[in-house]
């Protein structure tokens, strides 16, 4: 997949600027060890072993979520629930204060001498807007946290990687500059990978 090229200032700035070659700093491609495992269980064990072996930037690529990978990758608590809660509270507050401002402060309507502020009548819209903003923050919060959409990623360089969304279970290791790639490949094999590949980011 040849999409837009996006460098996210990884590992202390080997990202390149607009026309980076002219500024003296040349493009240093990111390298990944891409290891395929035979089953979700093997992937779990392999990930744990690689992490215990001292590799930092690990990620897995699987066609569906696998229980236990969060721990194997050493991930912290998910952030989405907090974001969604904030969205819901914001939605409810915005809706109620909007109604209050419109119908009580700015333009009170006297219909049958009913009070301008009728709390029960405000509940439906308050609820709906809370749901709308909570759902919206769940969706957009997820894509923001995941850094998607991001059409290009070095792991897509591998032809085998096309199976990651079908039936392949992959582990990718982002190698910092100066790391011995051969050692990492050997470690991945020792961790139980059935196929290991070294992929390099393409410049364009």
């Amino acid at each position: 997949m040849s999409g837009g090229h996006e460098q996210q200032g990884h590992d202390g700035g080997h990202g390149h600027d607009e026309g980076g070659h002219g500024h003296g700093e040349s493009f240093v491609p990111r390298r990944f060890v891409l290891a395929e495992f035979g089953s979700p269980q093997a992937l779990l064990e392999g990930t744990t072993r690689m992490r215990e072996g001292g590799y930092k930037d690990l990620d897995t690529h699987t066609p569906f979520p696998i229980h236990g990978l969060d721990e194997a990758l050493g991930l912290g608590k998910p952030k989405i629930p907090t974001i969604v809660l904030c969205g819901a509270i914001a939605g409810a507050c915005i809706a109620y204060s909007l109604i209050y401002f419109c119908n009580v402060i700015d333009f009170p309507l006297n219909i049958g001498n009913r009070p301008p502020h009728g709390p029960p009548a405000n509940i439906p819209i308050t609820f709906e807007l809370a749901v709308l903003l909570a759902g919206g923050s769940s969706f957009f919060g997820f894509f923001t946290l995941a850094g998607l959409p991001r059409p290009y990623h070095p792991v897509f360089e591998s032809e085998e990687f096309r199976r990651a969304s079908v039936d392949g279970f992959f582990l990718s290791v982002d190698l910092p500059i100066g790391t011995d790639a051969d050692r990492a490949v050997a470690d991945a094999r020792a961790a139980g990978a059935t196929g290991v590949e070294l992929v390099t980011e393409s410049e364009r």
Binding site: V84, C102, N122, S138, G141, V155, A164
Partner: protein
């Protein structure tokens, strides 16, 4: 492949019936569920598409006429101030509710059988809500003027919508419902679009599905947040779906018209929505599973479960009808009693009422028998009858209640015009067009979730070999 009809094979009711029929690997599931996308459109698809498009053309004509002439070209007039516009709105939005029920409520209840049908039903929700939204929009006559009393934007007139009006609640409920359904559907679709991207053979398809899959790479870091995002959207959709039809019912229930002025409306509307929604899922699912080759994931067990839900919700709706009559009698109000015991049963619109009772109360009773519950032709005909019955129910609520209200001197009959009928048929065309496009370009079954389910079943210690258990 296992026997085509597992319900017949399993004699013992306690013995689990397979949810995935036959033995599959991730790759074969992937290929079997995506195959219909790669396969060229057949003659049948083109034939259906041609019919749907011509109905859509009718919609455009009727819409243009409505906007050009105004809503005076519709059949409604005092006392029947609301007619086809609102009937169709309520009918379509109800149809959409089954999608949310299947995808969200059954997810929260961890009903594994939902996995095979949720994508399908969610798409239906989306398209039904699009059809529904059209009606309140055009029934205002000039929608571009309606914006200022529907949406709170700071206009030069300096006035605001009346937030105590159920019609304003409706605007917020339905637009929230559409947005959340769209986000939920798309979020579920992203991993499947990536699977499509990666199994595509041509460069163009790879590029197009690549754009829509947003660069998804199945990252473990993403899955962690993704699962929460998906679960929370399901959790939010559940009260949302209940609130939407409750608010729709408030449009009627907060008024004083006999036949509308009743407290049972919110639960009775929600039950009716689920009832009609499942009927619509069945109407489409039965041909789709045959022609798209989905029989191994949408098994007889799924169809039977949906029939059971129709039986239950059908009886809830029947209870609603009974209660309306009881409360009318119990109130001692002559207008209420007149509406339910004379107008509905014996008035000029009596046939619509009787068809409604037959389709919604009598027809679902056949699902008490396993033999009918597992017979494809029987359930398909029953589903269509239920769709008809639920449309008649909305007709009864809206038109029958209005055309004979309090003073006999102000009673007047109602008849739709060609514009009304074209708009209704036209939205069926819009729905069918969108649905056929969906079936052609997007996997009709949530591939990722079926793979996950297969692994879950495989690792269930109580389970038999993969795919053979429940």
């Amino acid at each position: 492949m296992a026997a085509p009809n597992p319900a017949v094979v399993s004699q013992d009711p306690l013995e689990p019936v397979p949810l995935i029929d036959g033995k599959y690997t991730d790759a074969t599931i992937n290929n079997s569920l995506l195959e219909h996308v790669w396969r060229g459109a057949g003659k049948g698809w083109w034939a259906c598409f041609a019919v749907a498009l011509s109905m859509l053309g009718l919609l455009l004509i009727a819409l243009t006429w409505t906007l050009y002439k105004g809503i005076g070209s519709w059949g409604n007039n005092i006392p029947v101030g609301w007619a086809f516009g609102i009937i169709n709105f309520v009918w379509w939005i109800g149809i959409g509710h089954a999608g949310t029920l299947i995808s969200a409520i059954l997810l929260l209840f961890q009903q594994k059988w939902r996995t095979s049908i949720n994508r399908f039903a969610e798409a239906m929700t989306l398209f039904a809500v699009i059809c529904a939204l059209l009606f309140p929009l055009i029934h205002t006559g000039r929608p571009w003027f309606a914006a200022y009393w529907l949406l709170p934007y700071p206009s030069v007139q300096g006035i605001w919508p009346q937030f105590k009006s159920p019609l304003t609640w409706d605007v917020f409920a339905v637009s929230t419902y559409f947005t959340i359904s769209l986000l939920f559907w798309f979020l579920g679709l992203v991993p499947d679009l990536a699977a499509l991207r990666d199994s595509s053979k041509s460069k163009v398809k790879r590029l197009v599905y690549g754009i829509f899959s947003l660069g998804w790479r199945g990252s473990g870091r993403h899955w962690q947040e993704y699962r929460w995002a998906y679960l929370l959207l399901a959790g939010l959709s559940t009260p949302l779906v209940l609130s939407v039809h409750t608010i729709v019912s408030f449009d009627f229930a907060t008024s004083v018209i006999p036949g509308w002025h009743t407290t049972i409306f919110p639960p009775y509307f929600v039950a009716g929505a689920v009832f009609s929604g499942f009927a619509m899922v069945m109407t489409w699912m039965i041909p789709a599973r045959k022609f798209l080759g989905l029989k191994h994931v949408v098994t007889m067990k799924h169809l039977e479960n949906m029939n059971k839900i129709m039986l239950v919700t059908g009886m809830m709706v029947g209870y609603g009808y009974l209660m309306e009559h009881f409360i009318a009698w119990y109130s001692g109000n002559p207008n209420e009693m007149g509406q339910f015991f004379l107008t509905r049963w014996h008035g000029p619109m009596r046939w619509i009422f009787r068809v409604m009772v037959f389709c919604n109360v009598v027809v679902p009773q056949i699902f008490w028998w396993k033999r009918w519950r597992t017979s494809i032709p029987v359930m398909w005909v029953a589903a269509i009858l239920i769709n008809v019955g639920m449309w008649c129910e909305r007709f009864n609520i809206v038109v029958t209640s209005l055309h004979q209200d309090f003073l006999p001197s102000s009673w007047r009959n109602y008849a739709p015009t060609w514009v009304d009928l074209s708009l209704f048929v036209g939205t069926i065309g819009l729905f069918s067009t969108l649905f056929l496009l969906f079936l052609k370009f997007v996997p009709a079954v949530a591939v990722t979730e079926v793979k996950e389910l297969r692994h879950e079943l495989a690792h269930d210690p109580t389970a038999e070999p993969v795919g053979e258990t429940h």
